[in-house]
Amino acid sequence: MSNNLIEFRNLRTNFYTGSGVVKAVNDVSFSIREGETLCVVGESGCGKSVTAMSLMRLVATPGKIVGGEILYKGEDLLKLKEREMRYLRGNEIAMIFQDPMSSLNPVLTIGHQIAEPLRIHKKLSKQEAKKKSIELIELVGIPRAAKIYDSYPHELSGGMRQRIMIAIALSCDPKLLIADEPTTALDVTIQAQILDLMRDIKKEFNTAIMMITHDLGVVAEMADHVVVMYAGKVIEEAPVHELFNNPKHPYTQGLLKAKPVISNRQDRLYTIPGQVPNPVELGENCYFNDRCEHCMEICVQKQPDLNIYDNKHKAACWLYEKEGK
């Protein structure tokens, strides 16, 4: 485990809203190894994106990182000066976002937006940056790169824009690529193309990828390692095969059951009963207790810890503790 690229240690990020403090990321710890693809899954509002934005230190107000450490190559990012952090952003840690339609600046040319990190971080001249940008546009599989360089975002389709976002993210050969639901806003054929592209890139540059998604199909296709989040906490963490074959937490089991299986006709897909808890009023219990079919007395009284079981499989559930047996 010495080649950890990123290590979250007890990260806490709170949002101070009018109706109370929302613990969007609540004591989250996991790590990403060099060249590994780690998928973070969970439903909307479980803190996946906030975890990623905390890593970039770009959590918008009223959000604030209130505790923990984020180690990058052994150095705590939360202690860096803003200038040092800016040097890492787009250079060693790059990010692509969910909605390619709105993630590019409408009044600047594509070329300008790709060349920008090259000029900032690699200190390339205008001509060198242009040459490299055109190479990058070709790398992400867009033909007529020289013409695209001078285009504006509105002249490109959604899939092309997401490729441009990937080109921007790759421009400075980052060690870690954070992909925040990169395929959610795209249609299915384009999704497959974008995932293929990301896999090729990972193979070619040995870039670690932190992929945020709620699509278990994407997880199965991309991940080496999976982190499952629920209401701001990590509830299960395992290598991808282990997780799919042997899910421990009832929530993960529910998610996998809710997935349609080809050749298996069902009238109705399984759904997990109940709703995600209101993030403002969380007490000291298992946050999943009211939706869990195995709910026991201890589940409403105490919060389970994330413990390691066999095969590097971590889960936070009383079912596997001696108190629950």
């Binding site: 952003r89 787009g90 790059a94 993630s103 590019l104 990190p117």
Partner: protein
Amino acid sequence: MKQFLIRRILQMIPTLIGVSIILFSVFSMVPGNFIDSNQTISAERAAELKHIHGLDKPATERYFIWASNALKGDFGYSFQHKVDVTTVIDRYIWNSVLIAAFSMIFTWIIAIFIGVFSAVKKYSLYDGIITFIVFGLMSLPSFFLGLLAIKFIAVDMGWAPVGGMYTTGSSATGFAKVFDLLEHMILPVTVLTALGVGGLTRYFRTSMLDIINQDYIRTARAKGVKESTVIFKHALRNALIPAITLLGFELPALFSGAMITEKIFNWPGIGRVYLDALNYRDYFLLMGYLMFLSFLTVLGNLLADTLYGLVDPRVRLK
């Protein structure tokens, strides 16, 4: 682009004809005229004068006489000033343009900076104080603000002359004359800027707040772009696009003069002349001036639409 311009210019013609009809009907419906308001002449003389000036003809006929002359560039005769309307406008309008141009430049620069900073530091103490000051200045009537400025800046501090355009009796030429003019401009320009900065500041603040929360601003930050570049390059460029409509309206505002402010500071501008012309029922001057402003409004709109294309690639005509 050429086609667009030609089409738009042709569209201006019916608009202006409509404006001229409305203008003329409103003024011809108002009872009384310049001759009626003169108590010193006899009834026969008044009738004679009305005949000479064509005021006894029916309104529709008068409209066509006025409109056809206007097309030739003759907007009639100012009874009050005893010269052509165009001469009167030309004599006073540039004085108004002078203070309007200066205050417009200051207003826009100040409003952009204050607006951007109060958007970036939303809900901070700075934002609160600025909002308070700006709303205060915006809410004060111009005559009150003008009097306050005279009291504090001109009388108490002695930093600027109280009113007028040049020092009375001064025979200065060249640089000294320009300097004298600038000194007299301080108060009217300050008051006009203070009045105008409020609305525009709020406009830029809102526009900027909207842009700052856009995804592409997050993208720029995630690329490691400096915060100042994020604000002034990535965000401000987008925030300025809707302001172009306002810039189009500034064209007539540049020439319209500031009636009350000019009156307070005794500035020989077109706004003051217009106010006097209203009292004297000098209709040809009023109509000529309003027609000119309507033309500028329509032209300003065309200018704004053309500028949009230059600034926003999404509406650029290929």
